[in-house]
């Protein structure tokens, strides 16, 4: 069996859960049920189906869009918050689509951050670009991002002129965005490219500038180096012929074509996808059988990413039990997916964008701020290499977990039940999960404590709990301190059912269910995806 052979059976519950947890922000009990019994092909078709582009974010204080207006130094930081809330909302509402996880993937690969770019309009534009290419052509995306105004600012492409070469983008384009660095075989020679290529690429890229008036970019021929650019043997000694006038811009296309001609470039992107969606450990077998296969498909499709994603998500390797729960869940996934998981059960209901956009944005802001506290801020990467968990050996995804972030993760999940407070049009509003309503939906007979803890936890953990752990949940968390825990629980539940409007009886069961959910959400198994 080759690793990349298609999984041809129908999805059982475990595989449906795994696919939805990895590919979407909505691995809810309902969606897992819907996907169970489907073929992998059908499931992936749903994940990859086109969705309409969202309309641009609105300023809830004016009900107007702001991305097409002049820059406002006064309001820009607020716009950036709206942008993040808008984007978080897209993730939160993405349903069974792969689009937003791919958009976030591109954001982590083609990084730009607000502290460096300092213009929310630019970042909106870049974000829309990444989303447009979520399942699109990667070579075209790289051409677009190279002259994207936010990127021109972020990596100083806008200051790279013939009189003052700035190598920043020319270097990161190769090191971090397309081909990657191989072993340093001699001084300045990183196998896949050399310092000479960094300088040559920087010269090719001279002349681009952002245009602040309308958040676009343009090519200024007078700033362009018109001499020929000689690349090293790593690029087959390619010479990009110097062009003058407006034609100078074409050299950028030639540069990207040259980079995309290299077999290593295809492998680079496929490794990034693998690390994002499957697992952070790439051994020789995976490199050969998985990355190699994906890269072949990628080149064969003329750099379309969709066939690569189809191949990956349908593969037996993706559904291998050894890959289930094999990564620490990243903070954005944690906050968005967990909030989405319980979204139907919040009291009061989370405001809709139509009724109360400001309130809705504030809930979304609580989500992205929680992810910030767990060291994964959107539009706020620590540096151009993206989040460390996706490249830093040997810890990789384990880097999401340390004493500080673990406390923040637990703080977030606890607050879903203890309540979090944000401003809505009703004033300061405290939202909390109604865990009894949730319980009734996921468990047919909550009076049976053993069945209850199983149903409360099964769709939350990345790895199934052991029997011993479920017994612990029953005996020590649901009904601790009772000689006969099952009997005590059964009795309390029946008290509540017989008198559901009695606050004390309701409280007795709800607080215990909350305890189980809070505990499960802190278990190591739940931090895995």
């Amino acid at each position: 069996m080759a690793l990349m052979d298609a999984y041809t059976g129908t999805l059982d519950e475990q595989r449906a859960r795994h696919l939805l947890r990895r590919a979407t922000f909505a691995p809810t009990t309902d969606n897992i049920k819907t996907f169970t019994g489907r073929s992998a092909t059908t499931a992936i078709t749903i994940l990859l189906s086109a969705t309409p582009a969202p309309s641009a974010p609105i300023d809830p204080t004016t009900n107007e869009q702001w991305h097409n207006k002049p820059y406002s130094s006064e309001k820009d930081a607020t716009y950036n918050e709206y942008l993040k809330s808008w984007w978080t909302g897209l993730m939160f509402n993405d349903g069974t689509s792969l689009r937003e996880k791919m958009t976030l993937f591109w954001h982590n690969l083609l990084v730009s951050s607000y502290p460096a770019v300092q213009d929310a309009r630019y970042l909106y534009r870049q974000n829309a670009l990444l989303r447009r290419f979520a399942f699109g052509n990667v070579r075209t995306l790289l051409k677009e991002i190279t002259i994207d105004p936010a990127m021109l600012r972020y990596l100083n492409g806008n200051t790279n002129t013939k009189s003052a070469i700035n190598e920043n983008y020319g270097r990161e384009l190769q090191e971090l965005f397309t081909i990657g660095k191989g072993a340093e075989v001699s001084a300045g020679n990183y196998t896949n490219y050399t310092e000479q290529d960094v300088r040559a690429a920087a010269r090719v890229l001279t002349g681009w500038a952002d245009v602040a008036e309308n958040a676009t970019s343009r090519f200024i021929p007078e700033n362009h180096v018109t001499e020929d650019k000689q690349f090293s043997a790593a690029y087959q000694n390619t010479v990009i012929r110097g062009r003058s006038g407006a034609d100078g811009a074409q050299e950028t296309d030639e540069l990207l074509d040259m980079i995309f001609r290299q077999p290593e470039t295809a492998r680079f992107f496929c490794r990034k996808l693998y690390v994002w969606f499957v697992g952070t450990e790439i051994d020789a077998t995976i490199e050969r059988e998985v990355i190699g296969e994906l890269a072949n498909t990628f080149r064969g499709s003329n750099w379309e990413i969709k066939p690569v994603l189809e191949l990956l998500f349908k593969s037996q390797h993706f559904f291998d039990a050894a890959n289930m729960g094999a990564m620490v869940k990243n903070p954005i996934d944690l906050v968005v997916s967990t909030a989405q998981y319980f979204s139907k059960y919040f009291t009061p209901t989370i405001p809709s964008q139509v009724d109360d956009l400001a309130g809705y944005f504030n809930v979304m802001k609580w989500l992205w701020q929680s992810a910030d506290a767990q060291e994964m801020g959107i539009l706020n990467h620590p540096n151009v290499a993206g989040w460390k968990a996706y490249y830093q050996t040997p810890q990789f995804d384990r880097l999401w977990i340390n004493a500080a972030t673990l406390a923040s993760r637990n703080d977030f999940t606890d607050k879903l039940f203890a309540g979090f407070t944000v401003a809505t049009k009703q004033g300061m509003t405290r939202f909390a999960v109604n865990s009894i309503a949730f319980t009734k939906d996921v468990c047919a007979n909550p009076a049976n404590g053993d069945d209850l803890v199983d149903k409360l936890s099964i769709d939350l953990t990345g790895v199934a709990l052991t029997q011993a752990q479920k017994l612990y949940l029953m005996d020590e968390v649901l009904a601790p301190g009772f000689f006969n825990a099952r009997g005590a629980w059964d009795m309390n539940w029946s008290f509540y059912v017989s008198d559901p409007n009695n606050a004390a009886k309701r409280q007795a069961v709800q607080s215990r269910i909350d305890n189980v959910l809070k505990f499960v959400l802190q278990m190591p198994e739940t931090h895995l995806v």
Partner: protein, 530 residues
């Protein structure tokens, strides 16, 4: 010469007053200056290193301005050059960026050592690769997955985290202030440090039960590995959190730090000082100041003394200086050494409004333990590498080795384990190494010295064989290598010699004895245990 005559010094001076030293009762010498040394040595385990990472690649040439090359400086650095009348003179050859000027008083007080031109052979100009090289102390073409401080700590705690914390090591072995743990503190298999963002957030750590859920099932594979990892972090957090909370409550800063949020480095150093003051026994702290990747906007064209780099140097100088003041007021200054690192310097010739990635840069060591002064010369702005970058004067691993040896008293085997090869040390600190320079042993080759019993409680015998008769001197040293006493000196005959030594007056701990002969010097280690 009779042995009775030979045995002068320590043993006979003992008069046996009890003294409580580091928790152990021992007999000691009344008013003996020697005892102060012995007491100081007990504090050796209390030494702290604070590593300040300047992320992005600091522009050394605008931090320390070469006054001896100003015409070149102004010619090639137009975009960022500091006007001559704004440069703060450190000495005749070197000036400071005006925002870095607070460092002058530290320098004048002998609390700052500058090492010029620090780098490594064949600099990799990728931030990430070069940072990894600095963190792991690897060769340019060598890929290591553990950090130098992680290995240093791991050597002393090979089983960590199993069995930690314990009575002897109640505190985290290393602490990084900030978000994610850097590679610096990665040990051979485990992260050796713990991450603290700020103390108030830390206090919210999970209290009560640990969410593992009953008997822990052994799981295998990638998921099992991660479950074990998260459990470890949970368990460590639980164990250390109470202790850190107690320590943080007890520790008080005495210097006036900038308001919170005004200086990101000072905020972190304030936490470090508070934890040390509160009695945390952690020996390694890592803090971070980012933003040095100044390709653009390094300086504001209308006033080149302002801008991103100026602000960062301001943070750095103010942070280091306030921290040092705090340590002094707290009476901790002799226990704490600070050191800066940055993945590379920046190119001498400027680009547009900033500087591109470069090679060598200065490193700063600060605190009361440093010797002070400048090691190395100003980097030449004209005698450059073929790519236009500065030439290296010192390998950063020489500094690491010097710090581990001179500050933490790492022995040769420990150093070899951490650094993987031997690097020539630099005279950075007033404390000296326990390690003799390699060549000092040359003349004494073939000679062996030992003591028995070892460990000892009271009397022990130091035995050695002299290949020829001659003048000898046998001395006792503390764990820092400082001479405590002369055990004996004079003429001895060829052949086996046995010197009885009474260690009953020494506090528990490690000591060294050294025999100086005409053929060279040998030394041995004596452990006093009761």
């Amino acid at each position: 010469m009779k042995r009775r005559d030979f045995l002068t010094g320590l043993g006979s001076a003992a008069i046996g007053l009890p003294l409580v030293l580091d928790g152990f009762t021992t007999r000691a010498f009344a008013e003996s200056p020697t005892l102060k040394h012995v007491a100081a040595l007990a504090a050796a385990q209390d030494r702290v290193l604070v590593l300040i990472q300047l992320s992005g690649g600091n522009d050394g040439i605008n931090t320390l301005i070469p006054l001896d090359q100003l015409s070149t400086y102004y010619r090639i650095r137009q975009a960022v050059a500091i006007p001559e009348n704004r440069i703060v003179k450190l000495n005749d050859a070197t000036g400071l960026h005006p925002r870095f000027a607070p460092m002058k008083s530290l320098f004048d007080d002998g609390n700052l050592t500058i090492v010029n031109g620090v780098s490594y052979p064949t600099v990799n100009q990728s931030h990430f690769r070069s940072t990894d090289i600095w963190f792991t102390a690897s060769e340019s073409d060598q890929y290591l997955s553990s950090g130098w401080l992680g290995r240093f700590v791991n050597y002393e705690a090979p089983n960590f985290p199993t069995g930690y914390p314990n009575d002897k090591a109640p505190d985290p072995l290393a602490i990084e202030i900030g978000g994610a743990m850097s590679l610096t503190l990665q040990g051979n298999t485990n992260a050796m440090g713990m991450t603290i963002r700020d103390l108030s957030a830390f206090e919210q750590l999970v209290s009560g039960q640990t969410a593992t859920g009953g008997s822990v099932a052994q799981r295998t594979g990638k998921a099992g590995n991660r479950i074990d990892f998260i459990r470890d972090v949970q368990a460590q957090s639980q164990k250390y959190s109470t202790r850190i909370r107690t320590v943080a409550d007890k520790g008080r800063n005495k210097a006036q730090y900038p308001d919170k949020g005004k200086n990101p480095l000072a905020d972190q150093l304030q936490i470090v000082a508070r934890l040390i003051a509160g009695g945390l026994q952690t020996r390694v702290y890592v803090v971070n100041l980012g933003g040095f990747d100044t390709h653009w906007d390094q300086a504001v064209p209308t006033d080149l003394t302002t801008g991103i780099h100026a602000n960062l140097l301001g943070y750095l100088a103010e942070g280091m200086k306030t921290f040092q003041q705090d340590l002094k007021l707290l009476g901790l200054e002799n226990r704490v050494l600070g050191m800066t690192i940055s993945e590379f310097g920046r190119r001498p010739a400027t680009s547009s409004l900033g500087t591109d990635h470069g090679t060598a840069g200065p490193m700063f060591l600060f605190g009361a333990p440093v010797r002070g002064g400048i090691i190395g010369k100003n980097p030449s702005l004209t005698d450059l590498l073929p790519d236009g970058n500065l030439k290296m004067q010192y390998d950063f691993r020489q500094l690491y080795t010097s710090v581990l040896s001179q500050w933490f008293q790492a022995d040769t085997q420990h150093l070899n384990t951490v650094m993987m090869k031997s690097f020539e040390q630099l005279p950075l600190l007033t404390t000296t190494s326990v390690n003799e320079p390699q060549n000092a042993f040359g003349g004494a080759s073939g000679m062996v010295i030992r003591n028995y019993p070892n460990p000892c409680a009271a009397t022990t015998n130091i035995e050695y064989t002299l290949p020829q008769s001659g003048m000898v001197r046998l001395t006792l040293h503390d764990a820092l290598g400082r001479e405590i006493a002369t055990i004996g000196s004079g003429y001895q005959s060829e052949g086996k010699q046995l010197v009885a030594f009474d260690a009953s007056a020494l506090a528990q701990g490690a000591y060294f004895y050294r025999l100086q002969t005409e053929r060279g010097m040998i030394s041995g280690q004596m452990n006093v245990v009761r």
